[in-house]
Symmetry: C2
Subunit: 253 residues, 2 copies
DNA sequence: TCTTTGGTTTGATCTAGATCAACGGGATAG
DNA sequence: CTATCCCGTTGATCTAGATCAAACCAAAGA
């Protein structure tokens, strides 16, 4: 990277930073502050810390780091992984802008997962003890935070159902739809996007081998449900994809 | 059941009821009040409602019921199930004394699961709005409740890892160990107990067919890891069971 | 008593997905 | 330019667990 683009990026980031607040964040309908009053949002905004963006492969936090904050993803994407006793990695989830990660650390006061950026990503850090204090002053915020955790439980349980009795096809279709709708919420294209994660990560997450992941992608492609070129995806028949995801339809060959 | 035992049971229950309080509950190291001060426990105790026990098959709550309470299991056991669009049941989890259920309902203000008693079970109902008010007065309680939800997230994630890449053997062994340790915590026998749930429920929960569940049980029996007679289980070699559960050991035939 | 019913076991066979193996790019480095 | 990675694709084969089928058994009713 040369100096010119370096400076350019820095300026953009600076400009960006001055404007940033929970009040004008485009994600504030998905993220924490929804349903708060203006002055409450302002109080929350004051405790939120916005560090410099993470580069691809950088850790947001690691397993066993002491828990002191939760993090809202602003842009980019991350994966959460845990390491088994045998040392192999298990991908626990992918997270996109508007989602909040780190709540698993609360129970034992240290994170049970590591979180790694899949691409250049920016996050908002929300120090937990200050959030807790603020919650005592703003009951709506307390309620909202509880709902956030409850929503995480709901998502985990949907995933349990999927992993427990979904076919490889269902798993892949469901993941694609998740990314698609997540894009849609942010007013990005729900039909054309780049997968931020490798086949390895996808397979690991869904309990499949990379070969199976690859085969399902080409199968979906051949059946004109998606177009795929390496990591570039276009959804060409979303209703069939939905049918596959829910198990109402099966494609073979 | 004849009249004599009927009366007997009723008396026991009456006697029991008068004594019941979070302060002297044998489960209070596992359940909500841990680490609260005595007078705080008393305040909590005042909002906890103890209804009559559920009979086998009775619902604690149903999907879409409006969320107004969480429930601590006092005795017995329950299963949480969700119903897919196609109407088939998915067992989301089994819950034993000391565990708290119902937190999934918080996000959408209605339960996303139904919870059914697997055997005669008693529960404590903790009305959520009163718990929320109390949390504002007792910050430790707020923290504790958050930890409870965080712990649920941790458990769900461990389950995701198990379902994602565990063999049938690992899944069954892990479930048996969970029940065993849960019994141990309550100072019951960790090695001899009756499974409260059917093979159907076990298979549904673990993403296996009942035939596979049955075959794994007999395989464990033949290898002298457990003894099983219908639903009566004895763990005869817990270290091998642990090895199987963690994937360090595999038994065939 | 016999019959029904729901849960459980066991055997035979089938298949979705794993495993093994080979190859094909694109990126980075020497 | 070539060598080395790493990632992804494709084909051939294998296998854990599903599916299909039959039988068993205990509890509940008639």
């Amino acid at each position: 990277m040369n100096n010119i683009s370096d400076i350019y990026l820095k300026d953009i980031h600076c400009l960006h930073d001055k404007r940033l607040s929970c009040g004008n964040c485009r994600l504030n309908t998905i993220c924490l502050p929804v349903s708060l009053h203006l002055d409450d949002i302002d109080k929350l905004n004051q405790i939120v810390q916005r560090g410099k963006p993470l580069n691809k492969g950088e850790y947001l936090y690691r397993v066993n780091d002491t828990f002191d904050a939760v993090f809202a993803i602003r842009s980019g994407s991350v994966k959460a992984i845990s390491i088994s006793e045998k040392g192999d990695e298990q991908v626990m989830g992918f997270h996109f802008p508007g989602e909040v990660v780190g709540m698993d650390g609360l129970a034992e006061n240290s994170y049970t997962n590591s979180v790694i950026a899949l691409e250049t990503s920016s996050v908002c850090e929300i120090p937990f003890n200050r959030l807790e204090e603020l919650s005592l002053l703003i009951p709506t915020l307390q309620r909202h935070f509880l709902q956030l955790m409850s929503r995480e439980i709901m998502h985990d349980q949907q995933l349990i159902a999927l992993l427990g009795k979904g076919s490889a096809e269902m798993k892949i279709a469901t993941l694609l739809l998740k990314i698609s709708t997540s894009n849609g919420l942010r007013h990005l294209s729900a039909n054309n996007f780049a997968l931020p994660m490798s086949r390895i990560d996808i397979g690991n997450f869904l309990g499949l081998t990379i070969e199976t992941v690859s085969r399902i992608f080409t199968r979906l492609h051949k059946n004109k449900v998606i177009t795929i070129d390496n990591r570039e995806i276009s959804i060409t028949n979303i209703s069939v994809l939905r049918n596959i995801s829910s198990g109402d339809q099966v494609i073979r060959i």
